[in-house]
């Protein structure tokens, strides 16, 4: 590296250290969001340039002379060498979901600092490393999936445990995402109308693509986008209409029922009719809004209103209970390290890499960009007044059911807010109330609306942007629900087909209906539980989702460690063992506390015991509902325990393999596809 280059990179690294130190040590009134942006961008750049390059060159030995599966197995469909920039965008679109947007908003209850540091450090040293190594491993193994690699590298027990873990994680994830949508839309005719309108719009798009203009997906998506924008405009009039508004003013339970029915229909209907057009539309809107948010933050440079730490680092938080360690680190999964990414990194992407060297920007770089999305979400949430943030995100079971009670409780915590402030804010946003809108989506939408709407905008503009943000979040969460239900159905049919062959046939309608109903019932059960929960549901379901997602990261890091051991023995094993140890420490501690903590707000079993005592003493309000809550708390404890056991089994199995490799008794052969000289020229792409 030339002297000028060295000086430049030293300046970037110093800027990262200065800004990170600045946000960690500054204790003034408010901090400009640009500090977070510069800290994150400089840390990512340094991590990418040095750590990423070290992994690419020294550890993994990426070799552009070696033909990739995309070149060797080229079929024009799944296996196709792709321009690295296009593949970067494709991979980013696949990994970026609602997780990096919602997780940081919820974790902001600890203040902006713990979450921000975890997002930046976790991504550079953990998340990006996991994504990159799994992508590399899959690329060197003809695009094999994580499950296949777990089976091959660790053993059959590990492979089976990974399969069950993925299914369980999907069920928990679908329920918690559905709960976020329910909490964003309950009692909101404007939001509900907009989202309801996306269904006929998607069906119109499906029919247009199938019969009117086959193959014109971009043209069709542009029409779909224009119709969705029109629906947002019309939503205001629907909400103000005395005749129409009641049709779209739905309770949480009715919305939950509607989403459950939607999930079932989307799983059973032909993909081209609803799922595919919604998927296209959601992907384009998602990428566009993320870019808009980035530009908006740079232009507006909002000040962070939340402090670096709040009193809730002690575990008494209203949004979810539990101390900053371990709960901050499982609340923010996507954005720092997400096990789910390993499924994408061993899915479509490895089959599209043209040259091995492209795995560095695609695997490592795309994760850093997703991490930056999480930083933007943290900024958007922290630009709200702390009192407003807690009033929107706290459940009535904690702060009180009336505006007066809620504002009094929150103000007593040291975050002043009045019922009048909240009423004005709700009017600006075009909502009846913004109290107890748990789940993170409404507070993120408020923050985004503040950034998007020019200063001094009236209610019409703020209301439009608030509902635009709600539409954006709900739309792509619903695409995850419909796609996830369908994937769950395939996985279940695949398993049931081993028992009775017809059940495995994806075209046999009774099998399709039975498997779809089973998957929908599984996540629907958790969704209804979340809706009924007086603590808002997020308190129990989001940690369960975070734990399960990061347990999957532990599985991926076990596979990555095994591969590094086979390649280099102990020399580079710290690269995956350090994040693995951290992820195991946080998830196992969190899972243990969620099951066995003596505090009813934290531990599922303590919560069940507390409710049972109330039931016996006759102090529980509704006996039937309380019995359901007791059952749910125990079910959550069982799910958490099963996940712990499964990942514990994979860990033990992995350690057995590692000891075998190091002792010379185990199979230490690297199971890569044979070397074939590449003849592909990058200019062809």
């Amino acid at each position: 590296m030339k002297l000028l280059g060295k000086l430049l990179w030293a300046a970037v690294a110093l800027a990262a250290a200065f800004c990170l130190g600045g946000i960690a040590l500054y204790r003034g009134e408010h901090i400009d969001s640009i500090w977070l942006v510069v800290a994150a961008v400089c840390a990512y750049s340094t991590g990418y340039r040095f750590y990423g390059k070290f992994l690419a060159a020294r550890v993994l030995g990426l070799n552009d002379q070696r033909a990739t599966p995309a070149e060797r197995l080229r079929d024009g469909q799944d296996f196709e060498p792709t321009n690295p920039w296009i593949l970067f965008g494709h991979h980013f679109a696949a990994i970026a979901g609602p997780g990096p947007l919602v997780g940081p908003v919820l974790a902001a209850q600890f203040g902006y600092l713990p979450g921000t540091l975890w997002i930046v450090i976790g991504a550079v040293l953990g998340g990006a490393v996991q994504d990159f190594i799994i992508l590399f491993a899959s690329m060197r193994r003809d695009g094999k999936s994580l499950g296949q690699m777990t089976r091959e590298e660790i053993g059959r027990t590990g492979g089976l445990a990974a399969l069950v873990t993925v299914l369980l994680i999907m069920i928990v994830m679908l329920s918690v995402m559905a709960l976020v949508v329910v909490n964003a839309l309950k009692g909101s005719p404007w939001g509900t109308f907009t989202i309801a309108a996306t269904m006929p719009i998607a069906i119109f798009m499906g029919l247009y693509l199938r019969y009117a203009r086959p193959g014109r997906v971009l043209e069709c998506s542009a029409i779909g986008f224009a119709l969705v924008m029109a629906a947002i405009f019309m939503g205001r009039y629907v909400a103000q209409s005395p005749n129409l508004a009641p049709w779209f003013t739905l309770s949480a339970m009715v919305l939950a029922g509607a989403i459950i029915v939607y999930g079932f229909l989307a799983s059973a209907l032909p993909v081209w009719l609803l799922l595919a057009p919604r998927g296209y539309l959601s992907t384009f809107i998602k990428l566009g809004v993320m870019a808009m948010l980035g530009v908006g933050i740079l232009l507006v440079r909002p000040q962070l209103q939340l402090p670096p730490f709040t009193r809730f680092v002690d575990g008494t938080g209203p949004i979810f209970a539990g101390k900053v360690f371990p709960f901050c680190f499982i609340t923010i999964a996507c954005g720092a390290i997400s096990g789910f990414h390993s499924l994408i990194s061993s899915g479509t992407t490895p089959k599209m890499i043209a040259k091995e060297g492209h795995a560095w920007p695609v695997g490592y770089g795309a994760m850093l960009l997703e991490s930056f999305v999480a930083i933007m979400a943290m900024i958007a949430a922290c630009t709200l007044q702390p009192g407003v943030y807690f009033a929107v995100n706290s459940p009535p079971g904690i702060v009180g059911a009336t505006p007066a009670a809620a504002t009094a409780t929150i103000s007593a915590w040291g975050f002043p807010v009045s019922a009048g402030d909240m009423s004005n804010l709700a009017r600006e946003a075009g909502e009846k109330t913004l109290f107890a809108r748990t789940g993170g989506a409404p507070s993120l939408a408020l923050g985004m609306a503040r950034i998007f709407a020019p200063a001094g905008s009236g209610p019409a503009v703020i209301g439009f942007w608030y509902h635009f943000a709600i539409m954006f979040e709900a739309l792509f969460i619903l695409t995850i629900i419909d796609a996830g239900t369908r994937v769950g159905r395939f996985m279940l049919q695949d398993t049931l087909g081993q028992v009775w062959k017809p059940l495995g046939r994806t075209g046999w309608m009774p099998g399709v209906i039975a498997a779809s109903a089973a998957i929908v019932a599984a996540w629907g059960c958790f969704l209804v539980q979340g809706v009924r929960d007086p603590l808002g549901g997020i308190n129990s379901l989001w940690p369960l989702y975070g734990i399960s997602n990061q347990l999957l990261a532990a599985v991926a890091l076990c596979v990555a460690t095994t591969i590094l051991l086979k390649m280099h023995r102990l020399k580079y094993v710290w690269i995956t063992c350090a994040p693995l140890a951290w992820v195991v420490a946080t998830t196992f501690t969190a899972a243990w506390q969620k099951i066995f903590s003596a505090q009813p707000a934290v531990g599922f079993l303590a919560q069940a015991a507390h409710l049972e005592t109330a039931l016996r003493a006759g102090t529980a309000g509704d006996a039937v509902a309380t019995r359901a809550l007791i059952f749910n708390a125990r079910l959550d404890a069982v799910v958490c325990g099963v996940l712990l056991l499964l990942v514990g089994a994979i860990l033990v199995d992995s350690m057995r393999v590692w000891i075998g490799i190091l002792g010379g008794r185990g199979d230490s052969s690297v199971r890569e596809s044979p070397f074939v000289l590449s003849t592909l020229r990058v200019e062809e792409l």
């Binding site: 321009n83 296009i86 609602p98 081209w272 899915g347 995850i480 395939f490």
Partner: protein, 58 residues
């Protein structure tokens, strides 16, 4: 071509890839076919079958 023009072409290529339009064109080229409603249906049925077994990330 100017840098802005190249960036625009790259963005359009990304959108076409995300929209499966590029994959459809590759398929037509690979098999020497002409685009038609029937061919698009066959393509999407295969495409969606393989894609719908892969989860979307959270």
């Amino acid at each position: 071509m100017s840098r802005l023009g190249r960036l625009g072409r790259l963005a359009l290529a990304l959108l076409r890839e995300l929209a499966d339009e590029s994959a459809y064109q590759r398929r037509l080229k690979l098999h020497g076919l002409k685009g038609s409603p029937e061919e698009w249906r066959r393509f999407t049925e295969e495409r969606y079958r393989s894609r719908s077994t892969q989860p979307k990330c959270c």
